[in-house]
Amino acid sequence: MENRPLEYDYTIAKMFMLTTIVLGIVGMLIGVILAFQLAFPGLNLILGDNLAEYTNFSRLRPLHTDAVIFGFTLSGVFATWYYVGQRVLKVSMAESKLLMTIGKLHFWLYLAVVAAAVFSLFAGVTTSKEYAEFEWPIDIGVVVVWVLFGMSMFGLIGIRREKSLYISVWYYIATFLGIAMLYLFNNMEIPTMFATSPAGETGIGAWYHSVSMYAGTNDALVQWWYGHNAVAFGFTVPIVAMIYYFLPKESGQAIYSYKLSLLSFWGLMFVYLWAGGHHLLYSTVPDWMQTMGSIFSIILILPSWGSAINMLLTMKGEWQQVAASPLIKFMILASTFYMFSTLEGPIQAIKSVNAIAHFTDWIVGHVHDGVLGWVGFMIMAALYHMAPRVFKREIYSKAIMTAQFWIQTLGVVLYFTSMWIAGITQGMMWRAHDEFGNLAYSFIDTVTVLHPYYAIRGVGGLLYLVGFLMFAYNIYKTMSSRPVEERELQSASPMGA
């Protein structure tokens, strides 16, 4: 018994892989629609006048952000945890009935919460806070799902055979704690149905409505402490967890430097939280807090780049692998985009630069360098690595994968160059005065000038979506094509035509 290799149980990983793909398609499709709506506003009526309330840009935008963050990205995080966790802790989910039950509950409740969230956002039930739109009943659902995730994570850690925690596990733990803390504090709200009128009436109005515990500037502070770190613990920390596992695993290389891993991790943990003030530059938040946000953003470059450099150096001398494997290409480009956006962010966090960049599409460009080039690429790479192992079949087509890589890379490039132009142009036009000292442009002038760039962004987004559909198709075919031999695969994933 003892000597037989561990049989890892990927049931739950597979379920979350499915939602990663489905919600990825949904979220990105909405993203593409949004992009074209800004270029061609007629598309607000895409399903006709009667449904415009549900298909217009403003109703769809939170659906896009929440679908890609809480749907696509989180599913990806869960899927990879249920895969990576077992393997680096050297313990199988199958070893504990309890853990399996918790895992399944985790999945099904997650699905229920997603459904409720989609429904409520379409209905216009939102608190308006970015990335924290959900009203309190859904918040409660989110918290329960998160607690289940935590139980399942710490449960697995509790019964581990590998005494020492691998780097990826550090990052998964941080993800869990970070989001838990942030989400709780930013969603402090009082349901209004508990109010009693002087006439004695109770239970007045919509039962799901609530009012924030914080007001004005305070509310903004808490929100962007959350918003910034939702990026940290949703788009950075768990994705770093992924790359620390999947890149060395796929390439068969050892991590370049433990010390670099260590310093990057603790540096990131300590520095990230301070930088949230860069979302509030030139606002009514006190100057010293804004300054703090800017300073820490600059310092943050280093722990961020630390992980990326560690990954690039792990591939030292392995160029033939990069050249040969589209899977490794995805991860190398992901690291590169990670470096790009973690330098772009700090530069935009400099007060004078932010004076131009804030409120413009340059920020949207920065966002999508990160989410498309880094988060999206890494999650797809992770799933590509997992697929042959969880389905015990080789990846259906390497050719599709290669084509997909280039199509999506082009998509990202079109996205960020167009938003770069749009954002900087708009930022400077808003500031411009003419020879008489009057504003040089009315607002609408600064809107119409962007039309071509909005159109280009739409095309870029469409390419990315097409690539993602190719990815989905490739995974689907992988599930249904001929099984490969029943032996544990070591590094490089086997790929078909």
């Binding site: 050892a254 030292k316 001398g317």
Partner: protein, 315 residues
């Protein structure tokens, strides 16, 4: 040269091109690139930041990719190993470690010394900038008159007013006043029937409604529907056509012969003039078409200028 560097240079060139192109767009074709950059330090810093971002990322990444191509992995492996993944005990990359240390030292310095000693305040900065800006432009536009004033007025109009009055000042199909001529018949009629109280003279001086408007020609009987129709068209037609008698009998007292206005009695209703526009901008206006907001944030010179512009286009 390695292909990578070529690619790097191409990428940098593309992004520089894109960035330079933003300046072309921003200038609207009539400002040079250096003007835009030197006129506003914030523009210059943003562009510099953007440039630095591209250059640094591209060449640092190339540096590491070169190591993938030519170097080879070495070092002592740690004893541990997770799912087959090993770890080298390599020390920190020097450049990275030094930079990390430097930014931390800089951060501490900035926080404890740089920032407090500067005593920066964003409102203080705003006040200074605004004072400089105002001084600069006041010197320039204080004395302008004639065509230059009209030009300045056009610039205000295009930034502030076209949202309601339309780019041609035609009122966009009746959504706001058509400023190409003084007034529409429908508005005149509305004013006669309902009176008007918009401080068009700069102070409260209402025009009575139809019950207070008597026609001298008909023995001071209240103005009739037919007369209202006539005189409305007369006024809207620029004081020509039928209805002159009604006007003479009822309106002249306050609006003067030819409707040119009477001091402290009634505004000019035959033409726009700077005083009238300035009063509208200072007090706003509510009429048949809708409500025109007041524009506190324009200074006197800007109001005068836009008044000159409207007077000019409505000639």
């Amino acid at each position: 040269m390695n292909k990578l560097y070529l690619w790097g240079i191409i990428v940098v060139a593309i992004m520089f091109g894109a960035t330079a192109y933003t300046l072309v767009l921003t200038g609207g074709g009539n400002k040079s690139l250096t003007d835009i950059l030197s006129g506003d330090i914030v523009n210059a810093l943003a562009i510099t930041g953007a440039a630095a971002l591209v250059v640094i990322t591209v060449f640092v990444v190339i540096k590491y990719v070169r190591q993938m191509q030519v170097d080879s992995a070495t070092g002592d492996l740690a004893d541990e190993n997770w799912d087959g993944i090993g770890e080298y005990k390599n020390s920190l990359p020097t450049g990275w470690a030094v930079m990390f240390l430097l930014t931390m030292v800089w951060g501490m310095w900035y926080w404890t010394i740089g920032y407090p000693v500067n005593a920066y305040s964003q409102i203080g900065e705003y006040n200074e900038d605004t004072a400089v800006h105002n001084a600069k432009f006041e010197a320039k536009y204080k004395d302008i008159t004639g065509d230059r004033l009209v030009e300045m007025g056009e610039s205000v109009f295009l930034a502030e007013c076209k949202v309601c009055h339309g780019i041609n000042a035609d009122g966009i199909d009746g959504k706001a006043a058509n400023l190409n001529h003084r007034i529409d018949a429908a508005s005149v009629k509305h004013v006669i029937e309902n009176g008007s109280n918009n401080k068009l003279l700069g102070f409260e001086m209402p025009m009575p409604d139809r019950n207070g408007l008597m026609n001298a020609n008909s023995g001071y009987a209240p103005i009739t529907d037919a007369e209202i129709e006539l005189v409305s068209r007369f006024v809207a037609n620029g004081m020509t056509g039928e209805g002159a008698e009604v006007f003479a009998g009822t309106c002249v007292m306050c609006h003067g012969a030819d409707g040119m206005g009477v001091d402290s009695m009634g505004p000019n209703i035959s033409k726009f003039d700077t005083v009238l526009v300035t009063n509208v901008l200072t007090h706003g206006k509510k009429g048949m078409i809708g409500v025109m907001p007041k524009f506190d944030r324009l200074n006197d010179k800007q109001k005068e200028a836009v008044g000159a512009y409207i007077t000019n286009i409505s000639k």
